[in-house]
């Protein structure tokens, strides 16, 4: 029996709301969540981001659903469905708010029409589309039963017969001075067409549309209402059917359908968010999970920064990382503004996103199924005095180190940067030792080069600059720097102007 698109089992196996979400802000995930939820306000998605799936199975349950939604046809049809449901709710609101009887009743039928259409279309789409996830299959089963139920069939047939009759109505109003005459339409010709025909020979390319857009209010004025009453007199049978429907079908929406429509937004909002990035050539993948620390990702990037850069017209640089058997800590050093912080964020982000069941911003990835993400990023905020700041830092760091387990991810960015070099080196070494003790997986961004070669648990990563021009950051974070070509030729290569590159670039 279908229960939920987000949780595999109805039983709550200790699923609980995340408490320490400091990392949301450090990793800029708060910005992403705001983007995802702000466009779907009526669905109130926010709480979904604070609950982790309880097991690898549950994360995979979501991954499978998300994969189905990555099929463009499935995605399209679900999104269409959702838009219709929103429209149906909007029309119901009109029916509740408006005054004139025939107007209220009609909005109500219109609302039901949109709902019926939404449900029918989704059912039809799902029956012909290839879906593989357990979640979607269960829902499909439910949907089929619902559509075949007597209640739904009855609703659908009433709606369509009433609306067919109403839409067949065509009437004329004849206006002369203050008098309005209402009659059935008798086939008089469209006068604008005759005018256009006369001038057709002058047709040049595009011209403006001079049709005036009238302000359309939901309300009617009393003249329109009067005309509608007279039309109802001309077509009395059609309007009596309308009266009946309004009474009989007062509440018609199915609860499970409504729930599905809300939960699917969790996936849709993210897939819409990353779509432009994918189209620009950036890769996303569904990670596998490990309980060991032998994690890796290739062509990974910070998804929030990538969004921002895309809006500004630039493209983010991707990076790789991996940890071998003994390795636990990635120590990132190198020149400032070289992408070190971004690198640390990226590792945190892909773990969070992967755990939520989302495709992560990387070409390929194996991630740790973590229990916590613990982060401490240097903040801009000014402390009263340096001593006080160091103290606050250490309190926070101790809290993190105490909480860290062998399944935790610890992210630290430029800690101790405002103390003396000796102090910073001493303290950082201590922190590294503690992390190694707790056997967590960690990323440490620091200006202390000494740390990067502390022992064999530590992997050195370096932000690099252009070989030719040290002013230019490459935003590549690498295990080993590379070099090679002479200045001019490598500059030509940079612009894709070597013979081989040109042969590739130019189409004949």
């Amino acid at each position: 029996m279908f229960y939920s698109l987000l949780f595999k089992d109805k039983k709550d196996k200790g699923r609980k709301k995340l408490e320490d979400v400091e990392f949301f802000r450090d990793l800029n995930l708060d910005q992403m969540i705001t983007s995802l939820t702000s466009l779907k306000k009526e669905h109130n998605l926010n709480e979904f981001f604070y609950v982790f799936p309880s097991s690898v199975e549950e994360t995979k349950y979501r991954q499978d659903i998300s994969r189905d939604l990555e099929n463009e046809e499935v995605f399209h049809s679900v999104r269409e469905f959702s838009m219709k449901m929103q429209r149906a709710r909007k029309y119901q609101n009109y029916a509740n708010k408006l005054v004139y009887k025939y107007q209220k009743e009609r909005w109500f039928v219109d609302s039901a029409r949109v709902y019926v259409e939404a449900v029918n279309t989704l059912k039809m789409d799902l029956s012909s589309l290839k879906i593989n996830s357990e979640g979607f299959k269960e829902f499909k089963r439910y949907l089929n039963e619902y559509v075949n139920s007597e209640a739904f069939k009855d609703l659908a047939s009433q709606v369509s017969s009433i609306l067919d009759e109403l839409s067949a109505i065509e009437y004329t109003i004849f206006i002369k001075e203050n008098t309005i005459k209402v009659q059935k339409y008798k086939g008089e010709k469209d006068y604008a067409e005759e005018v256009l025909k006369t001038f057709e020979r002058f047709k040049q390319t595009n011209v403006k549309d001079y049709n005036v857009e009238f302000d359309e209010f939901m309300e009617m004025n009393h003249v329109e209402a009067k005309i509608l009453d007279l039309v109802a007199k001309l077509y009395s049978h059609e309007f009596s059917e309308l009266d009946l429907f309004y009474v009989k079908y007062a509440s018609y929406m199915d609860k499970t359908i409504v729930r599905f429509e809300r939960e699917v937004q969790f996936y849709i909002s993210y897939l819409e968010y990353v779509k432009p990035l994918k189209e620009s050539g950036l890769k996303f993948c569904y990670p596998e999970f490990t309980t060991s620390k032998q994690v890796y990702a290739s062509e990974a990037f910070d998804v929030v920064l990538a969004k921002k850069m895309q809006n500004e017209g630039s493209t983010i640089i991707c990076n790789d990382f991996h940890l071998n058997k003994k390795e636990r800590i990635l120590v990132v050093t190198g020149p400032n503004q070289g992408g070190k912080t971004t690198f640390a964020r990226m590792i945190g982000q892909i773990h969070y996103l992967g755990r939520m069941g989302y495709p992560v911003p990387a070409k390929k990835a194996r991630l740790m199924f973590f229990d916590k993400i613990l982060s401490h990023f240097e903040r801009e905020e000014r402390a009263e005095n340096l001593r006080g700041k160091l103290e606050d830092d250490l309190i926070r760091i101790k809290k993190i180190l105490d909480a860290a387990t062998s399944s935790s991810i610890v992210l630290m960015n430029e800690i101790f940067s405002s103390t003396t070099l000796d102090d910073a080196l001493f303290l950082t070494k201590k922190v590294v030792e503690r992390i190694i003790e707790s056997d967590s997986l960690a990323v440490l961004v620091t200006f202390l080069y000494e740390i990067s070669s502390m022992n064999d648990k530590v992997v050195s990563m370096v932000s690099t600059v252009s070989q030719e021009n040290p002013e230019i950051r490459t935003y590549k974070i690498v295990r080993m720097p590379s070099n090679g070509l002479s200045y001019a030729i490598s500059l030509a290569r940079k612009y894709g102007l070597t013979y081989d590159q040109l042969m590739e670039r130019i189409d004949v």
């Binding site: 109403l166 109003i173 203050n178 020979r201 329109e224 509608l228 189409d507």
Partner: protein, 505 residues
């Protein structure tokens, strides 16, 4: 009713997107002098000239079509100016009738478009008279077809039909509007209906007894009711006001297109007269398909210099060449030569005559220039980067059968490195059937290309006489090592130049 004086099957679009390197072409080929001469102080003519020269024709037939029309204009310039004057009158319509001003009220729009239509009809009548009286002197298909269309379509009967519509649209007998029920039972699809004439209405009243109708009246004092009623009328008139307004716009666009296309020919005539008066040779070029490689010209010169004084003219006759390497004396006329080539192609592919006594060549799909920029010499470090960036932009847009003019490119690094870069680029572009003229001082590069011995490469040098004087002529010749900068130095510093003789390898 199409104008079609510039293309046989489409309107000329003044707002077409110009190639992204247009400003560079204007700068490198000094096109502004050309535009100014064509404009003769008329900004509109200047704008049209600029767009036409930069949006090159890429079909031989299209070029021929314009050449023929231009020849007609050269012979009938007074009549062309007369039609141009009529087209300008149409621009008064907006001011006189307020047509096109934004209005929320279809009734107001209908009123101003009726008045606009009346003025335009008068202009059409004038144009028609001019066409009937004077079309004999035209032989190009562009102008012949244009006059035929005017004669066929603007008949007396047609003018009568138009005037009867304008009368009906005053609605002396009330408005009949049909509608349907939309969402929420609001009226939708309001359509103005033609009313059957009086007789038929009487008949239908007598014979259809079931003609059920309900009538109500809006009280004189009901202001909201009056507002609602006029809103209904506006909805009814909306579609017909739109129809007539669109018709007015179409007709104004007809005149607008006529003005734009005639402006091009007037500008071309301006340039023609100016150069003729200066005693320079002009000829209509023979354009060949872009996949051929033929280049033949005689007395080719740079018009931007010709308009200011004397110029040197060059001649060349080669086939199956893709790459021209030009070396030799500084200030020896290489840049001028490069410019005369570029301008001739732009003029040919605009449908104009060219500045040569004879010219025939294949056409190109796109044009590019890559000139060393003198102005930013100061910051040498970023210079190569900047040059390569520009080259990269060219490669982004280039296709086979394009023309690239290089002037001292890639010389902002050491000669060895610059030559290597230039060689890779040139060889790759050559392979992709891009044609290039490359002015260079990089002996290593020029020599390398010479030693390759590729049959599609042709070598030119700026001529220098035995005594060291430059003739500014560009002739066939193999790359030579010194670039005569010393000569100029010596000349300025008044030293004998005899022992700095030319060293040919």
């Amino acid at each position: 009713m199409k104008v079609f004086l510039m293309y046989k099957d489409k309107d000329f679009d003044l707002h077409v997107r110009l190639p992204s390197n247009s400003e560079t072409l204007i700068q490198d080929l000094r096109l502004n002098i050309l535009f100014d001469t064509m404009a003769k102080n008329d900004d509109f003519l200047r704008e049209v000239s600029k767009v036409v020269l930069l949006s090159s024709l890429t079909k031989v037939d299209d070029i021929f079509y314009r050449q023929e029309a231009l020849k007609d204009c050269l012979k009938n310039i007074d009549l062309v100016r007369g039609m141009y004057a009529i087209s300008l009158e149409s621009f008064e319509v907006e001011r006189k009738t307020f047509f096109g001003f934004f209005s929320k009220y279809p009734i107001g729009m209908l009123d101003s478009s009726i008045r606009a239509m009346k003025i335009l009809i008068e202009l059409l009548k004038k144009l028609r008279k001019m066409a009937l009286d004077n079309s004999n002197g035209f032989h190009s298909s562009a102008f012949k077809n244009f006059f035929d269309r005017i004669k066929d379509e603007l008949t007396d009967e047609y003018f009568a039909e138009v005037e009867s519509h304008l009368k009906k649209l005053e609605f002396r007998n009330g408005l009949l509007i049909s509608a349907q029920l939309g969402e929420g039972n609001k009226g939708k699809n309001y359509v103005l209906r033609g009313q059957n004439d009086e007789k038929k209405r009487w008949l239908s009243k007598i014979f259809s007894k079931k003609d059920e109708a309900y009538t109500f009246k809006i009280d004189e004092r009901d202001q909201n009711g009056a507002k609602a009623l006029s809103n209904l009328k506006e909805r009814g008139i909306n579609s017909v006001a739109n129809a007539l307004s669109q018709s007015v716009e179409h007709m104004m666009n007809f005149f607008k297109n006529l003005r734009t296309e005639l402006a091009f020919y007037l500008a071309a005539v301006n340039l023609y007269e100016e150069l003729k008066n200066a005693g320079k040779p002009l000829s209509f070029p023979i354009a060949l398909p872009h996949n051929e490689r033929t280049l033949h010209f005689e007395q080719l010169y740079d018009p931007s210099l010709a308009l200011k004084g004397n110029v040197v003219a060059n001649s060349l006759n080669v086939n199956e060449k893709n790459l021209f390497i030009i070396t030799g004396a500084n200030r020896g006329g290489k840049t001028t030569f490069l410019r005369s080539i570029g301008i001739a192609f732009l003029m040919m592919q605009a449908g104009l005559f060219v500045t040569a006594s004879a010219f025939s060549s294949n056409i190109f799909k796109k044009f590019f220039t890559h000139y060393r920029r003198e102005e930013d010499r100061a910051m040498e470090s970023g210079k190569l980067d900047e040059e390569l960036k520009r080259m990269n932009a060219i490669v982004n847009n280039i296709t086979s059968d394009s023309l690239v003019l290089f002037n001292e490119s890639f010389s902002s690094t050491s000669e060895l490195e610059g030559s290597e870069i230039a060689k890779e680029i040139v060889l790759a572009l050559k392979k992709k059937n891009v044609e290039m003229f490359f002015v260079t001082h990089m002996y290593t590069f020029a020599r390398n290309m010479y030693e390759e011995g590729s049959p599609d490469t042709f070598f030119l040098v700026a001529e220098r006489l035995e005594n060291g004087d430059r003739t500014f002529k560009i002739k066939e010749g193999i790359p030579s090592q010194t670039s005569y900068g010393v000569d100029i130095y010596k000349k300025i510093f008044n030293e004998s130049s005899s022992h700095y003789s030319n060293v040919n390898n």
